[in-house]
């Protein structure tokens, strides 16, 4: 799967077996997964995506829209970056598509 295959209007959520706790300092995030007991260090984009999904499910469009408020970056480029991060996080079983 690559970012080209992601429908930017379909919502994503946290994986049901993933219970993260997040802390961040500036652009750097750390995450503790209550289920696995693992701790991870995250870059700013992954940290932002997971922090947002902890509040509620969100689409690539919505995530990119929120990011564009703080970033001087074309929205299409942000969508591609967000999609790539979602795919990586999905491979780690951190996020999942919202089941319809």
């Amino acid at each position: 799967m690559n970012s080209m295959n992601i429908d930017s209007q379909l919502p994503w959520c946290l994986h049901p077996y993933f219970k993260p706790h997040i802390k961040h300092w500036g652009q750097d995030y750390v995450l503790f997964d209550e289920v696995s007991g693992d701790t991870h260090i995250l870059d700013s984009l992954a940290g932002f995506v997971l922090s947002t999904l902890m509040s509620s499910p969100a689409t690539v469009d919505a995530l990119s829209g929120r990011l564009s408020e703080d970033q001087d970056c074309p929205i299409e480029e942000l969508k591609s970056l967000v999609s790539d991060v979602l795919i990586e996080l999905a491979e780690l079983d951190f996020v999942d598509r919202v089941s319809t």
Partner: protein, 299 residues
Amino acid sequence: MKVADLSKSELTRRLKKQGLFILVGPFSIKILSSMSIVVDGIAALYSDYSLANDDYADYHIEINPPRSVRRWYRPQVDFYFDGYRPFKPLPQDQAFALFEWSFNWCIATSCHTYLILHAAVIEKNGRAVIMPAPPGSGKSTLTAGLVSKGWRLFSDELAMFPLGSDDVCALPRPVSLKNASIDIMRAYAPGSVLGPVAYDTSKGTVAHMKVPVESVKRALEPATPSWVIFPKYQAGHEATLTAMEPAQAFMHLAENAFNYQVLRQIAFEKLGGVIDQCQVYQFTYHNLDDALEIFDGLD
């Protein structure tokens, strides 16, 4: 009453018979041992510690020869914790070092009302420096050097963060010096008292340095964690303090926590709080005087 108030014969008798009960930071411990090297080590390094009531102890530590033929043939020593032996025996001349290691083990494996890091902690003016580091990094040498020049010793091995407060607690115990550090400290702080020397241990040659009396007296005064500094001795390197990314420091702290996997998200939140409270640095040094100048200048 202090350990120093006991005569050598009374100290020996208590250690051999009913146990010596002493207060070490927030803990009371009962020590049982019939071995002269342990008696000598306790007499030399724990003389300033207060005796505790002999009806209760948080930890019962026994350091004695095995109850077997090894009592005579290549004599060995065992550590008994609440009556059982968690480890294989060691050569008898390592008995005092085994007592110190055993005490560390007792606390690190069972005291989960604290988040416990493998780190040295020193204090000045109510503010504590937390120094996590792997073996061989020069942590203990640096700690011993700074403590001999006015910093208060909280611990050489175990940083104790009580879960109910934002402070770090003191557990002042002898500083474990290894190999070349032993002679370095003899030269740097000629008045310092060293305990029995253990040779050919898994860490090389080991000797423990006595805690300054002021650190023992103030053992129940906590401090505010203010700096996390990862020290590294590097031959010929100028003393250098380099700012570190907090998230990176967090991960290193987590790796150095004994009970992170026991406390889980409590430990995660606690460590996050420590990072929030502290400035975080890497510190490379070669010369103890240069290190002292930098540490005295922390603000």
